[in-house]
Symmetry: C2
Subunit: 344 residues, 2 copies
C-alpha cells in the first residue's frame, strides 16, 4: 500500500517534508477553475454537478501535486439541504432567507438531506478513483456555530448581532438549532467518509468572535459531539478542526474536542503553537494568504519561519485562511517547490 504523507502527519508522525495542501486550492485564482465555473448555472449548481465538482477538485492536484485534495463543495450545502433558501450572489457572497426566530427551526428537516447531498457523495467517489495513490481525499463541513450564523444573519455579518443575541438571550431556543446542525453535520461527514473521503476538516470560520463561555458551549461542545458520532462509525478517519481566530482558545479546543489536528490562522505565534498545541495534536497552517499573494522572498521567508517553528512535531503545511482570488498560480507552484526542495 502506498504511503500517504497527509494521513501519516495527521496520525501524529513528524515528516522531514511536511505534506501540503491549501484551503481554497480549488478556486478562482486558477484560470481553469474559472472556465469550469462558467459551465454551471450558479454556484450551488456547480457544487451539485459531480462532473464539474470532480474537475475543480482535481485541478490543483494536476498543477501542484498537493498532498491533499479537498472536495469542491461549500459549507452552506447544509442549510440548503435542510430546506432553507440559499443563493450565492456574484460579488456579494451567500444570501439566505434568514431564520425569523428560534421557532422557525421546526420548519427545517433532516429527512431530504442525504438525497439532496447525493451529488457531493458521487463526486467524492469519482475523485477517489482518479487521485494519484499518494494523494489523500479530504471531505469537510462547516461547524454548527458558523453555519448557524449564516442561517440567522442571512449571510456574512460584521458583528453577528442577531446570532449572538439568540445564543445569549435564548440559549435553549438556540440549542435547538445547534442540535439540529450537529445531526446534519454528523450525517454529512459520515456519508462523505463512506463515499471515499479519507480525512475530514470541520470549518468553524466564526468561532473566534465568541467569548469563552459561548465558545465552550457553541464551538467545543457540539464539535466534540460530532467527532464522537463520526468516530463511532469510522474510527480511523483523521479529523482536522479549524476554529478560525480562536486565539488562546485553540488550546482547550485541541485538547477537548477529540480532533486529530488543529488548523491555525496566520496570527497564531509558532512558539506557542508548538508548546501548547503540537504537543497534543498535529498542527496545520499557518501561512498568511497575503504572503502567498505577495510572493518572492517575503513568501519564502514566511514559509521558512513556519517550517522552522513547527519542525519538532507533526505538521501539515497550509495557509491560515483560503487562497485569495488575485493570487498568481505561479506563487503556489513556487511555494510547493520551495517546501519540497527544502528537504535536501
Amino acid at each position: 500500500m502506498t504511503i500517504k504523507p497527509l494521513i501519516e502527519a495527521l496520525q501524529g508522525k513528524r515528516l522531514k517534508v511536511p505534506p501540503v495542501w491549501l484551503m481554497r486550492q480549488a478556486g478562482r485564482y486558477l484560470p481553469e477553475y474559472r472556465k469550469t465555473r462558467s459551465g454551471a448555472r450558479d454556484f450551488l449548481n456547480f457544487c451539485y454537478t459531480p462532473a464539474l465538482a470532480v474537475e475543480a477538485t482535481l485541478q490543483p492536484i494536476r498543477r501542484f501535486a498537493m498532498d491533499g485534495a479537498i472536495i469542491f463543495s461549500d459549507i452552506l450545502v447544509i442549510p440548503d439541504a435542510l430546506g432553507q433558501e440559499v443563493a450565492f450572489v456574484e460579488g456579494k457572497g451567500p444570501v439566505l432567507v434568514p431564520l425569523e426566530s428560534p421557532e422557525s427551526v421546526s420548519g427545517l428537516s433532516l429527512e431530504p438531506m442525504s438525497q439532496h447531498l447525493q451529488p457531493v457523495y458521487e463526486a467524492l467517489s469519482a475523485v477517489r478513483g482518479e487521485l494519484p495513490p499518494e494523494t489523500t481525499l479530504i471531505g469537510f463541513a462547516g461547524a454548527p456555530w458558523t453555519i448557524a450564523t449564516y442561517m440567522i444573519e442571512g449571510g456574512s455579518s460584521k458583528d453577528f448581532a442577531r446570532a449572538k443575541s439568540w445564543a445569549y438571550g435564548d440559549p435553549n431556543g438556540f440549542a435547538r438549532l445547534i442540535d439540529l446542525l450537529v445531526d446534519a453535520i454528523s450525517n454529512h461527514l459520515i456519508a462523505q467518509v463512506s463515499a471515499g473521503a479519507e480525512v475530514l476538516q470541520i470549518f468553524d470560520s466564526w468561532a473566534g468572535v465568541l467569548p469563552e463561555a459561548a465558545f465552550r458551549q457553541w464551538t467545543i461542545k457540539p464539535i466534540k459531539e460530532i467527532i464522537a458520532r463520526v468516530k463511532a462509525v469510522h474510527p480511523d478517519v483523521p479529523i482536522i478542526g479549524f476554529p478560525n481566530r480562536a486565539g488562546v482558545m485553540y488550546a482547550p479546543f485541541s485538547i477537548e474536542t477529540g480532533v486529530d489536528a488543529v488548523s491555525i490562522d496566520a496570527s497564531v505565534p509558532l512558539g506557542w503553537a508548538a508548546d501548547e498545541l503540537q504537543s497534543k495534536v498535529t498542527v496545520q497552517g499557518n501561512l498568511d494568504p497575503i504572503a502567498l499573494l505577495t510572493g518572492g522572498s517575503a513568501l519564502k521567508n514566511a514559509a521558512d519561519t513556519i517550517l522552522s517553528g513547527l519542525r519538532n512535531g507533526a505538521h501539515v503545511f497550509n495557509l491560515g485562511h483560503g487562497v485569495l482570488p488575485p493570487t498568481p498560480p505561479d506563487h503556489v507552484a513556487q511555494l510547493v517547490d520551495h517546501l519540497r526542495g527544502a528537504k535536501g
Copy 2:
C-alpha cells in the same frame, strides 16, 4: 485632591468596584448624540468643532456618571492632519484617497499638524473644566499599523491585502510610513496631555490580523517607541494599549510596549488574562457589545463573569469593542447600576 478611581486602577490598584467607561460611549446609540451630530456639516467638522465635541464627550458622563470621559474625536484625524484626503461617507464609513506607493509618504507633512488639530486640544481643555472631580479625562490615538491600513487601503478592508503586501514586500518603504506615524501620533498624544488629558488610550484595531513577526515589528515596536516618547514628556500619564484581537500576542504586547494597562476584546478567556496579563498590567475589558445590546440576565451574567474572573487584580470595566448603534441606552444604565450595586 479628589480620588479618581480610573487613575487608581490604571496605577495598578485593585478596587472593590472597578471603574467603568465604554468605548464609543459618546455615540449614535444616544438620542442626544444624534441631535448634536446633526449640528455639524460632516463627521470631521463635528470632531473639529470644540463646542460640539465637548457636548458629545459630556453626554454619557451626565447620563451614566462614567469614571472616564473619552474625548470625542477619531483615529483618522491623523492622516487628515498629515494632508491625506479623508471623508466619512454615511453608511459606508471612512473613505481616504489611498496612498499610491511607499514613495507617496513624502507628500505628507508633520508641519501643519499641531495647528490642524488645535480644535481637539481646545475641546480637551474645555471638557476638563466641566468634568466632575472624580471623572478622568481620556485622550487617544490610533496606532501606526491601524492608521496605515486606512491610509493604504483607502478605508476599511476585509483582508488588508494592500497594506500587508507593502509591509511584507517592501518593509523599508513601509517603515517610512510607520516612522512618520510614530512621530505624528507621539506629538498628538503629548499635546493631548498638555491640553488636559489625564489618561491615554492607543487603539490598534487591526493588530490582530498580523502574523507574529509582523505584529512585533509593526505593532509592538512602534507603540513602544510612542510610549517612550510620551512618557519622556509626561512621565505620570497612564497609557492603555488596545491591540484588538491579538490573541496569544496580548502577552508580549503587555510586557514589552511599556503600557500601564491592556484593553482586551471579548474573545480573551478571563483565566488566561488574569494569569498572563493582569499579573503584569491593569486589564481593561471585556464585555461583548452584543451582550450589552441583548440586555437582561444575559447582560448581568456576562458582567458578573468578568467581575469574578478579574477580581484578583487591577481591572477597569469596559466593552471588548465599541457600543453598537442599536444598543438601548437603558441597558448601559442597567450595566453601570449593576456594577456599582455589586459592591455592597
